[in-house]
Symmetry: C2
């Protein structure tokens, strides 16, 4: 099997000490092994290997440091009660990785090979998947440009790497609604930019506003569009939904926001439940008006890390808006329970979203 | 002196072989040493050192790879005929580095310390400064976020590094006018984004359009604004100037373009020469109209790498526009001769732009 994939495996001799299940945090601890694969223009992708988790040795002129040619993905593996290992829609992550690669002029990766490699890596490090409530194994595939050359053009050399981190719930408080600052100056991404790619640049652009928001007591920033500063885009690193008068609204995918896999799954669930849903333009004005009219029922962010993150309060141009009295709404809660139930294997996999990892 | 700066110096034992003066290329060869300094939230910037040029050893979870928290600078050192070493307005680069740091939530660096460190590094590697016509030592200071944590928030650890590369002329062809593709879909940066910071994200955003342009026979892309797709911003990694009916126009600094040091120097030269100059909005439409009316006299890009890069032809929405019959204009040429003359020490330093590096 390992021969078939042509993945060279070098196992760690002494395993690392695992963190306590209630001390996981998010993205701090890493498993014993990592996957790596190299690219050169002449050979293409080659030298696939699973090796002990280790530092990268990189020329200081490597293009990733200077010109940001890099993409990444984020997904999770779950351990079920009956000790199976499940991945949530991993094919979608590999497809999106390649869409990001295209935008960043990075050579495409064979998606099914990457998924097989990931499964093998998980299998080797399976003891690292936590089983406590709200825990999972967070998986971070990423590509970096390694050619040492100070010219802003696509690299001739890349590395594709997968690292994994056992994680606790993203928000320590659990499903508690958070306070959000609506950012009207700083812009995350604009149409024509890279907003629909999962690439470092978009996160770099968000750091300053997010720090400002945090200093003022807000958990995240709600981003408005870069052209009109009017239409809602995303909240922090999540897609965003609003329920107004029984209808659920979410920003359409027009090129400036990420095509979230949680977002897509929620759209499917809502349709399945016959809840009307609109993917289109939503102005921040409209949300404030709905609140004034008493028709703003719920708001929540969605993403792999937190799954569902209810919004309890918005702050825009000096105006506070409290949603659902700052409590978690019924739909937010139902979506959270349904999604996490499917993900951790306790609920039936109605939509065939889960992929099982075979233990070896 | 070395004590005073508290820079620990570790010299390379065996020096590398230097490339031939006519084989330098740009940003490919690096000198024997590099400068490094570390930052932690607890200690601040510390452990300044000059060490042999060497690979960085970095955790694969380092934030720079995932969230693009990084900034850089680019400047040049020149060897004069009488073998002095000159830097062109290096204080401006250190100031801009700190403005970029602010936008990227990176801790500020002591500008005069950084400049002293650079001078020491240059002095140690002075044999690497080429002296052929059009050659120089390209200097790349940069900061990278090194904390290993998969959360998109500012890093607690950074490294500030300076590497140096002996370079030939940026364009092999010399001061020959280039063909430029006017990009109307893809956007480099938008107001509210990071366009005025020198940070990886802006270059990542430009790769795809630039590759497309290159495949179609164009040297660079001319960027339009991200809101209207109408106003001229920059050309490739350069600021841009147009001479129309005796008046020189360049886009104003409104937040989406880099405050180029070559641009600023040209504005000073033009004023000194009593040539009228306007820093403001220039629509691509206006340039095409001027061409039709026969009043478009010259166009050129400006930056540290190429100094002046005349534009011989534009292509916008299927319309070609030839400037100055594809020849280098008088002003472009005069600016190039004046700037390079000051930089390599053959002309008087009228504006006190040059900083001499003491040899030790
Ligand atoms: C900017 C951004 N938007 C939205 C999302 C949500 O995407 P997904 O549901 O695929 O995790 C993410 C990733 O978590 C993100 O980084
Ligand atoms: C995007 C961009 N614009 C303009 C410039 C020109 O700036 P400077 O004249 O300081 O080199 C540069 C750097 O060379 C750049 O990267």
């Amino acid at each position: 099997m390992e021969q078939h994939l042509d993945i060279h495996i070098e196992r760690r001799e002494a395993k690392k000490t695992k963190p306590a299940q209630d001390q996981l945090g998010f993205g701090i601890h890493f498993t014993d092994h990592m996957f790596m694969m190299d690219y050169t223009t002449e050979i293409g992708w080659h030298h696939a290997r699973i090796v002990p988790y280790q530092p990268l040795v990189m020329d200081p002129a490597a293009k990733v440091f200077h010109y940001g040619q890099t993409v990444f993905e984020g997904l999770k593996a779950y351990k079920t009660e009956d000790r199976r290992i499940l991945l949530f829609r991993p094919q979608k992550n590999m497809q999106r990785l390649n869409r990001s690669n295209e935008r960043l002029s990075i050579p495409l990766i064979n998606e099914s090979f990457a998924l097989d490699a990931l499964k093998q890596l998980i299998s080797i490090d399976q003891e690292w998947i936590p089983s406590g409530s709200g825990t999972s194994l967070y998986i971070r595939p990423f590509v970096i440009a390694t050619q040492p050359e100070l010219i802003a053009s696509p690299s001739s050399h890349f590395q594709f790497i997968i690292i994994m981190s056992p994680v606790g719930p993203y928000y320590a408080e659990g499903l508690n609604p958070v306070k959000i600052f609506v950012e009207s100056t700083s812009v995350r991404a604009v149409i024509g930019g890279m907003g629909e790619a999962k690439t470092a640049a978009n996160y770099a652009a968000s750091l300053m506003a997010q720090e400002d928001a945090k200093h003022n007591g807000y958990a995240q920033v709600l981003w408005l569009d870069g052209v009109h500063h009017k239409y809602i885009e995303e909240v922090g690193s999540m897609n965003v939904f609003f329920k107004i008068k029984g209808i659920v609204y979410t920003p359409a995918l027009k090129g400036s926001i990420l095509d979230g896999i949680t977002r897509d799954s929620i759209l499917q669930l809502l349709q399945h439940w016959n809840i009307p849903v609109v993917s289109g333009d939503i102005s921040i004005q409209k949300v404030y008006e709905a609140s004034r009219e008493g028709t703003l029922e719920e708001a929540f962010g969605t993403g792999t890390a937190a799954v569902i993150s209810p919004i309890g309060e918005l702050h825009w141009h000096g105006q506070n808006l409290v949603i659902q009295n700052g409590q978690t709404g019924e739909l937010s809660n139902k979506l959270y329970q349904t999604l996490t139930g499917i993900q951790n294997g306790s609920d039936p996999d109605l939509f065939h979203w889960m992929t099982e990892v075979n233990m070896r």
